[in-house]
Structure formats: structure tokens, C-alpha cells
């Protein structure tokens, strides 16, 4: 039943807005507001409504609603659908936390560990990216002259034309036991046996930090660029040391950019699939890999949906917490 209601929900919302708009127009008797259909003609209006309607309702909203709805269902075969077993349940979420009753442990530590590892590593990668990229962003925005900044931007963009998979591949080559880094280290005599970077996830961390640098640099650059250079000059004239200027003049001003960059990097990192699959060690998993497993190894789509939704929720919570922490509103972040 809810399945059918859910389908019509967005249409009802849209209809409500149309009615509101029509009533507003009648009440105001404003010469300037002409109705949508009159303004665009019948052919174009239909095209616009169908295109936007299909996009917003059938491609964006309904799939999300249905994914959430599905996560509260059992994994049934086609025959069982509509039968007595087809009820709502929290079993999928229960599994994430507590695992199977046949497991020895009280809670599903395996998956919970994966979850927290994903979140924590993503947070650390975000912090690292921020620290690593901030100086360059500042340099590009305030120190480099126009032409120099453009050249730097071009240099930054070029590596990201290469597919993320190939970039992860490049890191795999670098960090493999027969890779360049181990070869160099051994040839200089620093170590005698090759270090398995990949097994210890060092390759993964390096690859993840690398992958999303661009998403950190550009918001930072945009935010810092709009800072009036005179403010920095003034602070320097007053004798403030460089670290003071950055902490108390530049960064507060660039808060929206910092929040934007950190949000992006965190979400991209937590939702990453390519880098963990390619660079992850054999005993460590990323949460997205668990989701993938439910879908295509266990063919339990409802459970996969539940895991996916849990990931989505955590990302949203993290982002909202970031906004609150930085005291930035959502509209300020929108690029």
C-alpha cells in the first residue's frame, strides 16, 4: 500500500505548488506576472514540464524514496512478493548492528568496525588534504599574479583528466612490493626487505588523499581569492606573525570555502569505491565494498539498500555537524 502512495507523493507536492501559484496570481492582479503556459506557448511548456518532471520525480526523488522503503523489506523471491512474508521490517538494520544470531559476538563488530574505519579514515584524509592544499590555495589566490595563477590551475587540472581508476592504478604501481618506492628504498639500503605498503593500507590512504585534492583546492582558492589583499597587508603592518594572520584573518574569512571543500572531500572519500577496491589491503574493507557485496555477491538488495542508506545518513549528519561547527549556512556553500 505504501508502495503506491509513495509513487504519487511527489506528484501531489508539485500539484500543491501549482495551485498555490495560481491562487497567488489571481490575488495579486499584478500586470507583470503572466502564467507559465501563456509565457512559453503550449509546445515548449509541455517539453519543459515533461523534462523537468521526469528528471526531478522519476530520476531523483522517487528512486531515493524507494531505496529507503526497500531497506525496510525482506529479501523475497518474485513468488513471495505480495504474500504473507511481504511485511515491513527492521531486520536489515538490525543485521548491521547485531549480525546473525548464529555469530558468537553480541554485535556485528566486523561491519561496525568497517563503518567506523570508513568514517574515521575519511575524516583524517579530509584533514590531511586541507593542511596539504591550504598553502597552495593561498599561494595561488593571493601571492601568484594573474597569469601564474592560471598556469597553476591548468597544472592542477591536467592530472584529473585521467580516470580515477587509472590514478589508483598508478598508486598501485608505485606502492607495490616491486614498485618504485620499495625499489628506491632497497637500492639506497634503508631497508632490506620490501615493505608491503598495500597490505598496510598506506597505498590506500595516499591514493584517497590524492584523489580528491582538486575538490579541496578549488573551494579554498575561490574563498581566499575574494579576500581583499589589503586586509592581510594591514595585519602584517600591525606586526602580526604569519601564523596569526592565517589563523585569525584568512581562515575565518574563507570559512565557507573551507567548509565546502571539507564537506566535498569527506563525502567523496566515504563514498569512494574505486580506490578501496584497487588499493585496499586484503583484510581491510571500505563500507562501500560491503554494500557492493550485498548487491552483487549475496543478491540481497534490501539489505544493501539499508547499508547504503546508513552510509548516506552518516554523511548527511557529518555534513550538518560541519556546518554547525563552522557556523556556516547551506546557502553559503553552494558554489
Amino acid at each position: 500500500m505504501i508502495k503506491y502512495l509513495l509513487f504519487f507523493l511527489p506528484f501531489i507536492v508539485v500539484a500543491a505548488f501549482i495551485v498555490m501559484a495560481a491562487r497567488d496570481r489571481q490575488r495579486n492582479r499584478d500586470a507583470a506576472t503572466i502564467g507559465f503556459f501563456r509565457r512559453n506557448g503550449p509546445v515548449l511548456s509541455t517539453y519543459f514540464m515533461v523534462a523537468v518532471g521526469f528528471w526531478t520525480i522519476l530520476i531523483i526523488v522517487l528512486p531515493q524514496l524507494y531505496m529507503v522503503e526497500y531497506s525496510f523489506r525482506h529479501n523475497l523471491t518474485a513468488a513471495e512478493v505480495g504474500g504473507p512474508k511481504d511485511v515491513y521490517t527492521l531486520a536489515n538494520y538490525h543485521f548491521l548492528l547485531f549480525g546473525r544470531p548464529s555469530d558468537n559476538t553480541a554485535m556485528n563488530w566486523l561491519h561496525i568496525a568497517v563503518f567506523f574505519r570508513t568514517i574515521i579514515v575519511s575524516a583524517l584524509v579530509t584533514i590531511f588534504d586541507f593542511c596539504f592544499c591550504y598553502p597552495l590555495a593561498y599561494f595561488m589566490a593571493q601571492v601568484a599574479k594573474g597569469g601564474g595563477a592560471r598556469l597553476l590551475i591548468l597544472c592542477l587540472i591536467v592530472p584529473f583528466w585521467v580516470n580515477e581508476l587509472l590514478r589508483a592504478f598508478a598508486f598501485k604501481i608505485l606502492f607495490a612490493t616491486s614498485g618504485l618506492i620499495d625499489t628506491l628504498l632497497m637500492s639506497t639500503g634503508l631497508i632490506s626487505d620490501p615493505i608491503d605498503f598495500l597490505k598496510h593500507d598506506i597505498g590506500l590512504y595516499a591514493g584517497l588523499s590524492y584523489a580528491y585534492m582538486l575538490s579541496m583546492i578549488f573551494p579554498l582558492y575561490n574563498a581566499i581569492e575574494s579576500l581583499d589583499r589589503n586586509q592581510i597587508e594591514a595585519a602584517r603592518d600591525l606586526g602580526a606573525p604569519w601564523w596569526h594572520i592565517h589563523l585569525f584573518v584568512v581562515m575565518p574569512f574563507a570559512k565557507p570555502g573551507i567548509a565546502s571543500g571539507c564537506t566535498l572531500v569527506f563525502m567523496l572519500c566515504a563514498g569512494a569505491l574505486a580506490a578501496p577496491q584497487i588499493l585496499g589491503g586484503p583484510s581491510s574493507l571500505w563500507f562501500t565494498q560491503l554494500v557492493y557485496g550485498w548487491f552483487f555477491a549475496a543478491f540481497d538488495w534490501p539489505r544493501g539498500s539499508a547499508y547504503a542508506f546508513a552510509l548516506l545518513l552518516s554523511c548527511i549528519i557529518f555534513v550538518l555537524a560541519m556546518l554547525r561547527l563552522f557556523k556556516v549556512s547551506l546557502t553559503e556553500i553552494a558554489r
Binding site: 495579486n28 492582479r29 499584478d30 500586470a31 507583470a32 501563456r38
Partner: protein, 360 residues
Amino acid sequence: MSADVELDHVTIRFGDFVAVKSATLKIENGEFFSFLGPSGCGKTTILRTISGFLDPSEGTVRIGGQDMRGVGPNKRPTALIFQNLALFPLMTVEQNIVYGLRVRGASREVQRERADQLLSLIALSGQGRKKVAELSGGQKQRVAIARALAVEPQVLLLDEPLSALDLKLRQHMRNELRAIQKRVGITFIYITHDQGEALTMSDRIAVMNEGVIEQVGDGKAIYDDPATAFVASFVGENNPFHGHVVATDGEFAVIETVMGRLRGLNRRGARTGDAAVIFVRPESFRVGSGQADATIESAVLNVAFEGNLSHVFLKGPTKKEIVLTVGRSDGSLPGQGDTTRIGFDPRAARILPQGKLASD
């Protein structure tokens, strides 16, 4: 083919703001009619309503006797020349001119013929291939006119078309537009804030202020016989003196002002005790004594010479100085420091009820 345009108690509202208040007038077939007024007076709003881009909140617009309610701008027999011309930058001159024909499905030959005709009308023959970006301001102006004429509208609407041109070109174009109108013979509705333009080009003028049509009439009527204080102060140079009526005397009235009692023609029925303003044009002043109640006398603080007009700054009874704009006449201008008398013929002065002036 040409048509008349009728506005019947047209009121146009934007939310709470009333842009045009109950405008009623009839523009005759084949007339060159101007709406004259300062920025924001509502003239552009009226033009866009006649074009069909706005609906009147109340009242009716009729073109050629037909009610235009619900008729979109692409179905009306009007053509509009926009203030910024709005030529299509990605099309050539020729494509711009024949656009109206193209959307009506005219054949290529008809389009080509009409383009040639109009290009020679605006003296740009052979330049049809150029892009709009390659034209001068005056050339663009002419292309906009040709484009509008190509669809053979019954009414041509012009939205301050000359405001972007420099002075010499503007004066030249005034004559051109008038000549084109006479040749083509259709109704032209022209809006401007420049009264020189309105006076030289139009058969009749409607003077507007703050959404209200203050007066409709030909140039002479507007200039010599203004209906309200606004019209008197907006059209041409005029010297206002505020006061109240102390006596009426047939077609004359006498008003008490800071410069004493002054007499003038009372064509708009001001009564004794009413607050009123007397207006005297610069060309009506003569340096030297006039009648007892038609002379202004005071000490001269300064004289500013401006060509055919001069501003004489007189000492007034309060701290504020009185400025008279005086025309070139045989008498010489008074010198600074002199006490002077400047007189006028009461028949040349106009007494009008108190109202908003153009300078307010």
C-alpha cells in the same frame, strides 16, 4: 494601413504600486503622438501595454476599434522599437530586417525584395551581409526601424530611440524619423523625456507625471497654455513663483508672492484664496520696469550667462536667493550688485493651481 489607438480608463498595477492611473485618450490614425514625462512617470508602461507585453489591471486598450484584451504581442498589429534596439546579434543586418517576414512564412524572394527596399530606405544598400556588431550607433538605429517597418504594422511604437545617440546625431535623426513617418503614413507613438524632441516631432503630446496624464494637446497648446503646474514647469524653461490668489479680474488674477504682487492670465480657474503658482517664461522678461504688478525688483547677487539664456540671481526676502531665467533681449543684463527691475507682460504669465513641479 494604419489604425487609431484608444486607451479607456487604463490602470496598471504592479502589486501595490500603481504605475498608470486611469489613462484615457485617443490617438488618431496616422498621427505622430508622443508621451512626454520624466523617468518613472509610466510612459514605458503604457507603451508595453499597447504592445501587449503587459495586461491592464483595469480598463481597455483598443487598436483600430478592436479590444486587445487577451491578444498577445505577437498577434497585435503593432511593432515596437526598443530603447536598446534589441537587434539579434547572431543574425546579419538583412536577416534582422526580414525576421518578421520569415516567421510569417514569406518566401525567399519576397524576403529578399523587401530587404532591398528597406535597406535603400535607410541608406544601407549593399550592407545586408554585415553583422550587427560591425555597425555604428546610428546605423543600428536605422536597422531597428527597418526591421519594424518590414512587418507593415498599423502602429509603430518607439521607446526613447534617440536617447543613446549624441546631440548632433539626435537632432539629425529627429528630422529623419518625422520624414519617414510622413512618407509611410502610419501612426507613430513615441515616448521620450526630452521635450525638445516631443515638441519638434509630434502632432500631439501627452504630458505624464507619476502615472497620471496631465495634459494632451499639440506643442503650442502645451507650451503656451499648460494645464497644470507640472506641465508648465516641465515643458520649456519657466520661472515659478508660489503664493496665493488675492484677486481675480476677468481673465486675469493677482497672486501674492515673496516678490510682491504679480498678475497673470488665469485660464484654469484659480479662485481667491487658493494656493497657486505664477509662471513667466524667460523670453517674456524684459530688463527694466514694467507694470506695477508685473515687475520684479531686487538686488542682483550674480549673473550666469548661458548663451541664449542667462540666470540672474536676485536677493529674496528670506535667506534663499531667487533665480530668474532671462532670455536674450535688446536690453543689457544687469550687473552684480545693482538693484534691478525686470518686468513682463501679464498676458504672457500663467497662473495655475498649486501642484508638483518638474524639479521636485
